[in-house]
């Protein structure tokens, strides 16, 4: 990864987030998200098996781990995009079990996706406006009478314009999202997430496929989120980025939380080194691993 990526100013790290020793599942002073006994299996494979984890409020937490560690599945479970076999988890004191994804989002927990989901044949501005909450014109009957929603729509557009300017996408506001580069789409997705004024932003690999110049500005934007009082949880492979901006790091391997702690110290943890070098290279199949029986047979034949 490019080591030239450094925040313009050295970020101010938040410390003193945890209570007691920095062990897996350690209690936090002010947790925003608490997960307990969350387990998800695909066929015979356990993708996620998290005993207890707390995400500290008002800080930037990084979720790291080797491929196939279950990070994205854990994201999906927390945000209602997937259902765990067992477990409870709550956001801001409210239980999230059996809450559908759209309600999770309405509570203020907004996520982005590893593979960007910009809405290709909508304009950048339409993408942004879609992010706003509580729009009266989104009701079918009220949508028929423009005078009901036009005023609110104007306000939303102004807010979107402000965010687009901040993310330097204002010049592209009338273009199709499909016409933008991968990095610009990541920016758009983040900007769109902010339209709803979330309390917790979950970013799934925000740096994947982004060119170094844009990475720079993405980093600044993530720090800005914290500065404006939001909590950030992100999945990332770029260790430089993790060290620079994360206040807290949670390490997952084979579906479990194996270590937690301060970004500089956690890297020295033997469990983390083991997780990364532990030769679990063939577990990168994720949810698909039960779909490869025939392939395995074929490979067996050849050996």
């Amino acid at each position: 990864m490019s080591s030239s990526v450094t925040p313009t100013s050295k970020p101010v790290k938040t410390t003193g987030l945890h209570v007691g020793d920095a062990a897996p599942g350690v209690r936090k002073v002010d947790p925003i998200l608490i997960a307990d006994g969350v387990r998800r299996t695909f066929g015979g494979l356990t993708a996620v098996d998290v005993e207890h984890v707390e995400i500290p409020r008002g800080a930037i937490t990084a979720l790291i781990g080797p491929n196939g560690a279950g990070k994205t599945t854990f994201f999906n479970l927390l945000t209602g995009f997937d259902k765990p076999d067992t477990g409870t988890w709550s956001f801001d004191g409210r239980s999230l079990a059996h809450v559908p994804a759209y309600r999770v989002a309405r509570m203020g927990l907004i996520r982005t996706f590893q593979l960007t989901k910009s809405l290709a044949l909508l304009s950048v501005m339409e993408n942004m406006k879609l992010g706003a909450k509580n729009q009266v014109g989104e009701n079918l009957f009220r949508s028929l009478i423009p005078s009901i929603w036009r005023k609110q729509d104007g306000e939303i557009e102004a807010k979107a314009m402000e965010l687009l300017t901040r993310f330097k996408l204002d010049a592209k506001k009338d273009d199709y999202a499909a016409s933008m580069s991968g990095g610009q789409r990541k920016l758009l997705e983040m900007a769109r997430a902010l339209m709803s004024d979330p309390t917790l932003v979950m970013l799934d690999e925000p740096m994947a496929g982004v060119n170094p110049a844009l990475k720079q500005s993405l980093l600044d934007h993530i720090l800005d989120l914290k500065a404006s009082g939001m909590t950030v949880l992100f999945v990332e492979h770029d260790m430089h980025m993790v060290r620079h901006i994360a206040d807290w790091v949670i390490v997952m391997a084979e579906g479990k939380v194996v270590a937690e702690g301060d970004p500089h110290k956690v890297m020295e943890n033997p469990a983390v080194i083991d997780a990364y070098l532990g030769a679990h290279h063939d577990t990168d199949l994720g949810a698909d691993s039960e779909h490869v029986e025939a392939l395995k047979e074929l490979i067996d034949d050849e050996q």
Binding site: F81, Y102, L119, L121, K133, E138, L140, L144, S179, R192
Partner: protein, 326 residues
Amino acid sequence: MDWGAIFGNAAVELISPTTAAYALAALGLAIHFGYTGLLNFGQAGFMLLGAYGYAIPALKLGWPFWACVLTALAASVIFALILGIPTLRLRADYLAIVTIAAAEVLRLIFTTNEFRAVTGSANGLSEFQVDLLALNPFPPGRYGFGPFVFDNRVWFFLVIAWIVVAIAAVFTWLIMRSPWGRVVKGIREDEDAVRALGKNVYSYKIQSLILGGLLGTLAGILFVLPRAVVPSYFQPTLTFVIYAVLLLGGAATILGPIVGSIVFWVLLSFFSGFVSRAVTAGWFPFMTQVQAGQLRFILVGVAIMLIVVFMPQGLLGNKKELAFVK
């Protein structure tokens, strides 16, 4: 070769009630497929419900026409809910298979001899328009101008049909430019992304399915007003032809379905008129008159394939989209 008759018949299709009915059914599909991305292959089923939902209360219960229309629309909403609730959570192609199957189930139920007393089985129902015709403001007789000479009955149905199409087009235009339309278009692009923004995707999909189905139901009424209701009109091929009309005009446009229907019917009438007369004149000695009739279906099939591959945005779609269509 009677070119005048060929062009005259083709011109009639510009404004015929059938053209209007296909345009309206295609507009319903535009809401489903073009705007929301729902693969409804049961539009023929919605049309069937319109046709029978109107004809049965009119004939068997003697209800006034407005009550018949309401019955048809209510049946259509129930049908949409039955289809949508189980399938809209599933992958897109499940909806396609379930809707085409459900439309066939409906057609078979209306074809069976078991319910002959109500449905008229394979022979269908006729003379259900009496109540509506009582309101016909056009004086009796055949009149018109140029090729457009019809009797007063046809004029009446023609005017009703195009008024309904116009209202439906304005309605669709209004909802699609609103925030509601924005959500629905977002669902077409990526429903997970829209869900992550706090929209109840499932509810929007059901709303869309109901709305497009209601337009299909109205189209079914318009389609059968000038004729008898016969269950074999509502075969899966009808849905496929409506898809052809929609794709020709442009799937995610308001005027596309209307222009598509007009172009489709005018071209088809011109083509079959020409081939049929050419066969009579002995220009195509290898072809019989019956075969000439089948040629147009072959043409429709080939046209569907070519449009999807080479002109996916249709006649009226945004050309800019072309570069980004998968």
